[in-house]
């Protein structure tokens, strides 16, 4: 697993405004987030590169994911 683009010396794609979103049954579906200003839906898949980077940012305290509304 590629842990973080921080291995590129802080080369970081901008991830902002993260919020979990749910399926109609209330279970978690993914993360709604802006990636370099583009609003996108990121799955909770450990093989998804955006998800890997988002979790790395969260673990580093650089990003907070808001709960689903």
């Amino acid at each position: 697993m590629r842990l973080s683009v921080d291995t590129f010396g802080g080369v970081m794609i901008m991830y902002t405004n993260a919020q979990y979103y749910n399926k109609p049954d209330g279970t978690q579906a993914g993360i709604k987030i802006q990636i370099n200003g583009i609003e996108s839906f990121v799955p909770l898949d450990p093989a998804n590169t955006d998800y890997i980077k988002i979790i790395a940012l969260v673990q580093e305290g650089k990003l907070t994911i808001a709960p689903a509304s």
């Binding site: 590129f8 609003e39 799955p43």
Partner: protein
């Protein structure tokens, strides 16, 4: 066509094409879109003042610590490509920038582990590989790049020489496979190949050997970012097993597009950039009920991993939106389900029965 068989060099055809290994006779190029023909995101348009993570053509990505130092574009500068090619990837420096030691300016392709699993890197049986490509620059001198593993704690810096400015030069680089480190062989990052456009000293190491460092290029290499207007064009990129560079392996356009779509796909017609204002390729629908209209959309082929999904309004190009033609309004789109093969679109509350709506989408499962 006649040919010669030699126990050491393999088969040589009378056009001097040499096939040194049995693997050379089958599909051999581990690089996808090495002839830069597919550009789904930009449809040939320039990425000016490129930010990190930009894809100027499919499968090739640009990373930087300094936004705005390069313009990137398929066929930038409109020079004649090498014989047999019709496209190339062009990088143009926008200023004369002196890189800090920690700066990164790099073009790379990440090869999926499945596609290099047979190389046995990280074992005593690691295979030798040869990288070949055509390169053209307004600068001359020694340029650099590197091979890396997924976590960037193994690197092999390489260098190559461009002797004549503004002339296509064919480069071949043969390296022994890495017998150490961890090299992924699944759908993660197998091998990263970097072309250094002016990285700082932290990310450059001595060329010609494996190290346990995060090197993106070679010490002392030309810094393209250091000269305003300097150009760096590349095409015909091929990575193959063995110590001989064979001629570039062309695929049919449809096969190559499908290879790229494993990592990125879109609803837009191929001639339309993502986020553009166009109805070409739009997914149109009529609301069948008030509040909640949902339906599935299939990806062109199974993607590498569950992809990141983005909706775009065909009317404004705004992300996260669909367009309600009947109400003349962009409306927030959502999705309840994503997989490697399909996703759902959900209209939310922005549509009532029989209203005409539409959206564009992209899926990204890049490495």
């Amino acid at each position: 066509m006649s040919f010669a068989v030699n126990g050491t060099t393999g088969i040589t055809f009378n056009d001097n094409t040499n096939m040194a290994t049995a693997a050379s006779l089958g599909p051999r190029n581990r690089i996808i879109n090495g002839n830069m023909a597919i550009d789904q995101r930009n449809a040939g348009a320039a990425i000016n003042s490129a930010a990190t993570g930009s894809f100027p053509v499919d499968r090739f990505v640009y990373y930087t610590t300094q936004t705005g130092k390069f313009n990137l574009q398929q066929n930038a500068g409109s020079v004649t490509p090498p014989a047999g090619f019709t496209n190339y990837l062009g990088c143009t420096s926008t200023s004369s920038y002196s890189s800090l030691s920690s700066d990164v300016f790099v073009l790379d392709q990440k090869i999926e582990g499945y596609n290099v699993a047979d190389l046995n890197w990280g074992t005593a049986n690691a295979k030798t590989v040869t990288l070949s490509f055509w390169v053209y620059s307004s600068l001359t001198g020694t340029f650099g790049g590197s091979f890396q593993n997924s976590v960037q704690n193994r690197a092999y810096s390489f260098s190559y020489t461009i002797s004549s400015a503004n002339t296509w030069t064919y480069i071949t680089i043969t390296i022994a496979g890495d017998t150490s480190g961890t090299w992924i062989t699944n759908n993660g990052v197998g091998i990263i190949i970097n072309w250094d456009l002016g990285c700082g000293s932290t990310y450059r190491g001595a060329a010609g050997s494996w190290s346990g460092s995060n090197y993106l290029g070679a010490t002392g290499a030309v810094s393209v970012v250091g000269t305003s207007g300097a150009t760096f064009y590349i095409t015909g990129v091929q990575l193959e097993v063995g110590s001989v560079a064979t001629p570039y392996q062309f695929n049919t356009y449809s096969d190559q597009l499908a290879q790229c779509q494993r990592y990125f796909s879109k609803s837009y017609d191929l001639g339309s950039a993502t986020g553009s204002i166009t109805g070409a390729g739009v997914f149109g629908f009529r609301g069948i009920q008030t509040v909640y209209n949902e339906f599935p959309v299939s990806a062109p082929i199974a993607m590498r991993a569950t992809p990141t999904l983005t909706f775009y309004s065909p009317n404004s190009g705004a992300s996260g939106k669909y367009y309600n033609y009947s109400a003349s309004a962009d409306v927030a789109a959502s999705s309840d389900f994503l997989s490697q093969n399909t996703f759902t679109f959900s209209s939310g509350t922005g549509v009532t029965a029989n209203q005409l709506c539409g959206f564009q989408w992209t899926l990204s499962a890049e490495l």
